[in-house]
């Protein structure tokens, strides 16, 4: 036994290794990414991969689970949308080895496009779902998830949320590893989905799931505590907020903690409800527990009021906080709580995230912007660091929807508005994940568009994971390095230009040529992320030559460009010496220097 400070995602990874997981796959996505990275660092001989996208990751894991191997697949909640096709069918087919599909939800949302709830998805896919309430619990619960998966021969969902994934706690760990001996793949018609099989499987699932719910009623992380005529039900990190709020208020009530929202532990919940007058449900995202309790009251003929999101007693969207729960519990339990008056703060500067100083994406966006000045153009964006190209002064992201969508959205806008030059910006990792089919669509349907691949040789936003274009895998092995220009040429894009965005003159010329030529055009702006290569250079401003026009600042918005006494100056702690600002300076006052 050793106690160490572990991030929730690290605890989950170590718990999965402890449970004898033999294959792990996934696609990076905040807040899930560190699970696979931790497995990779501690893998003790097991196989782990970043797959090209979530669908591929889930299928790789399912294949291994067919052999009896325990498998873990990781993604963020919107990744589950990509992987939903195989998962929906896999629920019918089932698995042999335990298979845990970890999907990290992001209430807020803090780093995501949607506030979708994987617990709701679990009900839709008819697949059991585990919902840990703390990093400590997650370390143990992940092992239980493998056991239940094997017991019922079904994949299971495991859904931590951001505040658990990225919270650290002191956790007792040991070096135990459960020994699993996979039987191997046995040929059997049960692995081949056909309508007749699906009908039989559906009947089985509907019979099985209430049994799992019954099983879950005695599961160790579903608990019923406290006493009184009022009850609070909670799941996930909200349970921790309820405990903290009850401590602050000095109150007590009956408390139901739901660690397995689907299939719902009805017997346990019934025992909780029995004799209560009123229930308040505290949960994030969808009112999942609330709906289950309302349903149970109707089913069992229990007369009581269930309050929560559906009744407006809990906010419908965004995160819960200790403060919000204190407020709700104070009202529900009639415990007065006097909030200390908030100090009146001086006016604070707004500080949104921005592209880093020296980011090559800034140069790429600026080049296309200059090339299309005064012309009717659409700039379709995508998911990654380069979404930040939307900020002023660049203002170069007109649309952003989901991974890979920018490429096909641009085609739709072009078809509806044939006089608009439609650019679609996509990062290198996103290109491989879900960009290629969209480009095939443009070539096949002969839709004019300009694809701009922002190739920075890494998956930057999620913390610099390798991808098929980087030539190495998560296990550190050398891999076949896929060439983006070769792929584009092979799928029929005739004009593929490669330009260095930091060579601004050439970068602008490439964009102009692509816009003039018509057809499906591609530009690859290739320059590594500033975190991939260390720069020894910075820029310098000659104060005598700077006329204080601030054109560099107003056009680029680079965080390393600041003002000192009305003139431009360089923050050398941030500058990487990309010298894009030197291209823009009308008096040539910005020059290349070396890091002091």
């Amino acid at each position: 036994m050793a106690q160490s400070l572990l991030m929730g995602n690290q605890a989950i990874a170590l718990g999965a290794l402890r449970a004898g997981v033999g294959l792990c796959s996934g696609y990076p996505g905040t807040p899930s990414t560190e699970v696979l990275e931790t497995i990779s660092k501690n893998r003790r001989g097991i196989y782990v991969e970043w797959s090209v996208n979530e669908k591929a990751a889930l299928e790789v894991a399912a294949g291994a689970a067919y052999t009896g191997t325990r498998t873990l697949v990781t993604m963020k909640q919107v990744g589950l949308n990509v992987a939903s096709d195989p998962l929906m069918s896999l629920g019918y087919i089932g698995v042999k080895g335990g298979m845990v599909v970890l999907v990290a939800d992001d209430p807020g949302p803090i780093s995501s496009q949607t506030e979708q709830d994987t617990r709701t998805f679990a009900r839709y896919a008819k697949i059991p779902c585990f919902d840990p309430s703390s990093p400590e619990e997650a370390y143990e619960m992940i092992g239980d998830a493998f056991d239940y998966s094997e017991k019922y021969a079904t994949p299971v969902l495991f859904r931590p949320t951001t505040r658990l994934c990225h919270a650290c706690a002191s956790i007792d760990t040991d070096d135990f590893v459960k020994q699993i001996s996979p039987e191997g793949f046995k040929k059997d018609p049960k692995w081949v989905i056909f309508p007749r099989l699906s009908y039989a499987a559906h009947l089985n699932i509907e019979k099985r799931n209430p049994q799992i719910g019954e099983d879950f009623s005695t599961y160790r992380f579903n608990t019923r505590t406290g006493a009184g005529k009022k009850g609070v039900a909670a799941g996930g990190v909200s349970h921790a907020y309820v405990k903290e709020a009850l401590k602050i208020l000095g109150g007590d009530c009956r408390l139901l903690k739901v660690g397995t929202p689907f299939p719902f532990p009805e017997t346990l919940a019934y025992e909780f409800l029995d004799g209560l007058e009123e229930v308040l449900v505290i949960e994030e995202l969808d009112p999942v527990i609330e709906r289950e309790l309302v349903y149970l009251c109707g089913k069992k003929g229990i007369r009581l009021t269930v309050k929560g999101k559906l009744t407006g007693h809990v906010q419908a969207a965004g995160e819960n906080t200790v403060e919000s729960v204190v407020r709700q519990l104070s009202e529900f339990l009639n415990i007065p709580y006097e909030k200390t008056a908030a100090a009146s703060l001086p006016q604070l500067p707004v500080r949104p995230p921005v592209l880093c100083a020296g980011c090559p994406h800034r140069a790429s966006f600026y080049a296309v912007k200059q090339a299309m000045k005064g012309k009717k153009a659409l700039f379709s964006g995508d998911i990654g660091c380069y979404t930040l190209g939307n900020a002023q002064p660049l203002d170069m992201v007109d649309t952003c929807l989901c991974m890979g969508a920018g490429i096909t959205l641009a085609q739709g806008i072009r078809r509806a508005e044939p006089d608009t030059a439609c650019f679609a910006f996509v990062g290198d990792s996103t290109f491989f994940a879900s960009g290629i089919t969209g480009i095939v669509n443009a070539v096949y349907n002969n839709t004019d568009m300009i694809l701009v691949v922002l190739d920075n040789s890494t998956t930057a936003m999620t913390g610099h994971q390798p991808h098929p274009g980087t030539g190495r895998t998560l296990m550190g092995d050398a891999a076949g390095k896929l060439s983006i220009p070769d792929i584009l040429k092979a799928i029929g894009v005739k004009n593929v230009q490669i330009a260095d965005p930091l060579d601004l003159t050439a970068a602008i010329a490439a964009a102009k040529k692509a816009a003039d030529d018509g057809g499906v055009q591609a530009i690859i702006y290739k320059s590594p992320c500033i975190y991939v290569t260390e720069s020894e250079k910075t820029a310098d401003v000659e104060p005598d030559q700077c006329i204080g026009c601030q054109r560099c600042i107003q056009e680029l918005g680079c965080p390393a460009l600041v003002t000192e006494g009305g003139k431009a100056a360089i923050d050398k702690s941030l500058c990487t010496g990309c010298l894009i600002c030197a291209h823009i300076c009308p008096t040539g006052a910005i020059k290349g220097g070396r890091r002091s």
Binding site: A240, E244, V354
Partner: protein, 193 residues
């Protein structure tokens, strides 16, 4: 003990919060942290919550209960001021980081009003010339250790030896020397002020 660290993405708040949590573990206490990871790390406002002790459930510090705020930037310390308990302490770097949006709009943010507010509102204020300290150590990256040193010299329940012990566990050996210097300079800056 509740410690809140507030700064700008890229300033090293995550490492600082891990070091504090490790100090707690080394004293046999339970520790929790919650950190900003993701898009906000790209130059946006970031916050780390560190909670040390028993009977703590939420990974986030309840507002009005932080014993100390360690501000890596004046406005970021003020942005989180609601978390400070009445009479709590603030250790803050004096160096403002003007957001690009403020420069573009020509607004005159220089950090002075923030420091004035903290002076009149915090129970105790320690202002650290973090930039000068970091320059003396040859790296801007050690601002986090300079601030921890200043915190250890004022309101933090841990000594610089405690922090040095945590550094030995969590940091690569090649980074230790420069950061030890920053830690000591931060500590001394409080004693000298």
């Amino acid at each position: 003990m509740n410690i809140l660290l507030a700064g700008v993405g890229g300033q090293g708040t995550v490492l600082a919060s891990r070091l504090l949590a490790q100090c707690g573990l080394d004293k046999g206490l339970r520790a929790h942290t919650a950190e900003t990871i993701g898009m906000a790390q790209r130059g946006g406002s970031v916050v780390s919550h560190v909670r040390i002790g028993e009977d703590m459930f939420s990974p986030l510090i309840p507002k009005g209960t932080a014993d100390i705020i360690i501000g890596f930037e004046p406005a970021e310390a003020v942005r989180c001021f609601d978390y400070l308990k009445p009479g709590g302490a603030v250790v803050v770097s004096s160096r403002p980081i003007r957001p690009t949006t403020a420069i573009l709009s020509g607004s005159a943010y220089d950090g002075g009003a923030m420091l004035d507010f903290l002076k009149s509102s915090a129970g105790r204020l320690v202002v650290v010339d973090g930039e000068r300290l970091a320059e003396e150590t040859g790296s801007m990256r050690s601002l986090n250790l300079a601030l921890l040193g200043a915190a250890a010299g004022s309101a933090l329940g841990f000594t610089t030896d405690d922090i040095a012990g945590a550094m030995a566990k969590l940091m690569a050996p090649r980074h230790i020397e420069a950061n030890m210097t920053a830690l000591r300079l931060g500590f001394e800056s409080v004693k000298n002020s």
